[in-house]
């Protein structure tokens, strides 16, 4: 039926056509509010993504890495987390940051170029975007080791892409997690591409199969099926809490947009592929299902549309109003403690800038 390549192993609870199907290992029953919450979050994340892409085109953002098409994988997995769990995202997990409660403008600040971070990670229990491929996966494992040392029931969830699976760091993360039985969920979004490289340049077997050889289970899930993603991530988090160690989830999905706004995917992939994946849209699929079940109605959808419009407006205005950092900001927080070179160079920059003010130039 589903020719996406998901395969028989891929857990699916909602077909691309929006039909609810059962899976023996992954039952799921949500309250209606939870269903609506998923639809709402995915819809708003998509709007955020669209707005950010537009703002980049207008020169208001330096860059944007779109999560278009991956909303279910991100929103679904983040919904499975408790507030006290901790997420370790890449640069593309806007849907995760959103569900963690990171305010949209804080998400956009890095891409605006006013900071290399944007939010207080501990406040939202969501680490900063990590750009160096694979690095954050080890952070997630180390964090999970800390959870374990604390004797806590929290879990960590580390996000990464199909491309990242080739990196040493990600595989070392598998080793450490297995050896220490760390309460971590590895959430790999296989969006079929690492910039211009298809997944078969990174692996010759389905990625979820990687886990077994490291000694923990791997599960493939339809990453465009938010219900399946919730169910499978819950299972993995449950394992973590129960002291059963790590789980690898391969969320099989598709990067609908360019790699980033700097990228031109027409150079390396066919439009037909994109068209096929459009038929598997994660939001549309849930909307059909919830409508058919009467869980959402036109009122709800219109309200959601208004909310999305408001969000768009808020983002547009907020990004444009975002102030540039003060020149001296680059010297702040390089060190926790006093540092003579930092102090001297801060003074050097101040004096240099002051010389223009005196001359009235800059």
């Amino acid at each position: 039926m589903d020719d996406s390549g998901l395969g028989a192993a891929g857990v699916q609870l909602l077909t691309p056509q929006g039909e609810r199907v059962e899976h023996p290992d992954f039952p799921l029953a949500l309250a209606n509010d939870e269903y609506r919450g998923l639809l709402r979050d995915m819809t708003l994340v998509r709007r955020l993504d669209v707005e950010a892409t537009a703002l980049q085109r207008q020169g208001e953002l330096g860059l944007w890495a779109s999560c278009l098409g991956q909303e279910a994988a991100q929103v679904g997995s983040a919904h499975a987390m408790a507030a006290s769990d901790y997420a370790f995202p890449t640069y593309r997990e806007h849907g995760v940051a959103w569900v963690r409660g990171v305010p949209p403008l804080e998400m956009l600040a890095m891409l605006r170029g006013v900071t290399n971070g944007g939010w207080d990670p501990n406040r939202y229990r969501c680490a900063p975007s990590t750009i160096v491929i694979g690095n954050q996966v080890l952070h997630g494992v180390g964090y999970a080791m800390g959870i374990q040392l604390d004797g806590s029931l929290d879990a960590a969830i580390a996000y990464f892409g199909d491309g990242a699976t080739a990196q040493g760091d990600v595989n070392e993360a598998f080793v450490f997690a297995a050896v220490f039985n760390a309460p971590v969920v590895f959430l790999c979004q296989n969006n079929q591409w690492a910039i211009s490289q298809p997944t078969n340049r990174q692996t010759r077997t389905p990625l979820f199969e990687r886990a077994a050889g490291f000694g923990f289970p791997g599960v493939r899930v339809d990453g465009n099926d938010v219900l399946a993603v919730v169910a499978v991530t819950r299972y993995a988090i449950q394992r973590a809490r129960a002291g059963e160690g790590p789980t690898l989830i391969e969320a099989y999905t598709y990067r609908m947009a360019a790699h980033t706004t700097s990228d031109d995917p027409t150079r390396y992939r066919e439009a037909a592929e994109l068209d096929a994946w459009r038929q598997r849209d994660p939001i549309e699929r849930l909307r059909i299902h919830l409508t058919s079940q009467g869980i959402v109605d036109d009122d709800f959808l219109e309200g959601l549309e208004r909310e999305a419009n408001d969000l768009g407006e808020f983002i547009r205005a907020g990004v444009r109003a975002m102030p540039d950092p003060k020149p001296g900001a680059m010297f702040d927080h390089v060190y926790a403690e006093r540092h003579p070179d930092i102090d001297a160079q801060r003074d050097e920059l101040d004096a240099y800038l002051a010389s223009f003010v005196e001359e009235g130039v800059r």
């Binding site: 290399n116 490289q197 950092p325 390089v334 010389s355």
Partner: protein, 357 residues
Amino acid sequence: MRSAMNSMPILRASSRKASADMTGIDGNDPQQMTMAQALNLGLRRALERDSKTVLFGEDIGRLGGVFRVTDGLQKDFGEHRVIDAPLAESGIVGAAVGLAMRGYRPVLEMQFDGFVYPAFDQIVSQVAKLRRRTEGAIGMPITIRIPYGGGIGAVEHHSESPEAYFAHTPGLRVLSPSDPQAAFVTIQQAIASDDPVIYLEPKRRYWDKGSVDVCVDPLDLAVTPDPWRARILRAGSDVTVVCYGPMVRTCLEASRANSEVSIEVIDLQSLSPVDYDTIEASVERTARLVVVHEASRNAGLGAEIAARISERCFTVLEAPVMRVTGYDVPYPPNRLEELFLPDLDRVLDGVDRVMSY
């Protein structure tokens, strides 16, 4: 340079045509082209010259690299000469070591400066040391191309200047071109070298155009400048400004903007080894030296140049060597990068400081 080198570049008709398409080359006259195009043409020539030369890196094939420096090369030379790598830099460099042991001459691309660090171990412990370890039995004719430096408004890890790490590593050579002609020539020289070369491409100059003599044979040092020698790009008598890569244009502009001080501008080109003879001869005349680079100051390349020239020109210097550099902070978010990067004003400020010392 490699000793036994095909002196006649073997140009296939098809690829010559392809070169023309890419660069707009028409005949053999010097051509206007960007640095990215000049590098592309240099890589093409290297692939034509030696069938053992292979390109290996992330997204270098169909995409032609994120900066299009390898544009069209996979199409023309095939997937066995221009090889898309899995996303793992240690893997890329480590595999290149093996390819070199098998007789290949790998030319690697690190997608950005900030992504070379996963390969640091292979570079420092293997690439740099294998020739010495095997007493010359195994060579490492590997070129590692790295787009480096800031100024393009990028996000973190895309604007680093890692040259000092490599300059401090015995066994490596480090080159950085500053204009399209130098890029066209030195990329071919780097690839032909039997030593490992870290080839630092000043990414914000990729789109700068310049005249390139495409007929020059870069491997014939009788007609082509030695890549390991610095170049005096502008003669001057009051102060010497040493720079390289992205800062060369900045320093040339600065030298022209100040009509009161006669500024000599030296483009190092080779960052390891540095051609101190040329700098020393210049400072013997000017008695003043400013060193400019984007990288952070502390233990940066400017320190070495200041130390050596302070020693070699001790009795001549009228002022201490001044360094105009990035600050000792992680590269800032791009809204602040103009303040981090030395610009024309900061270079002239440095010049003022040595002149008024």
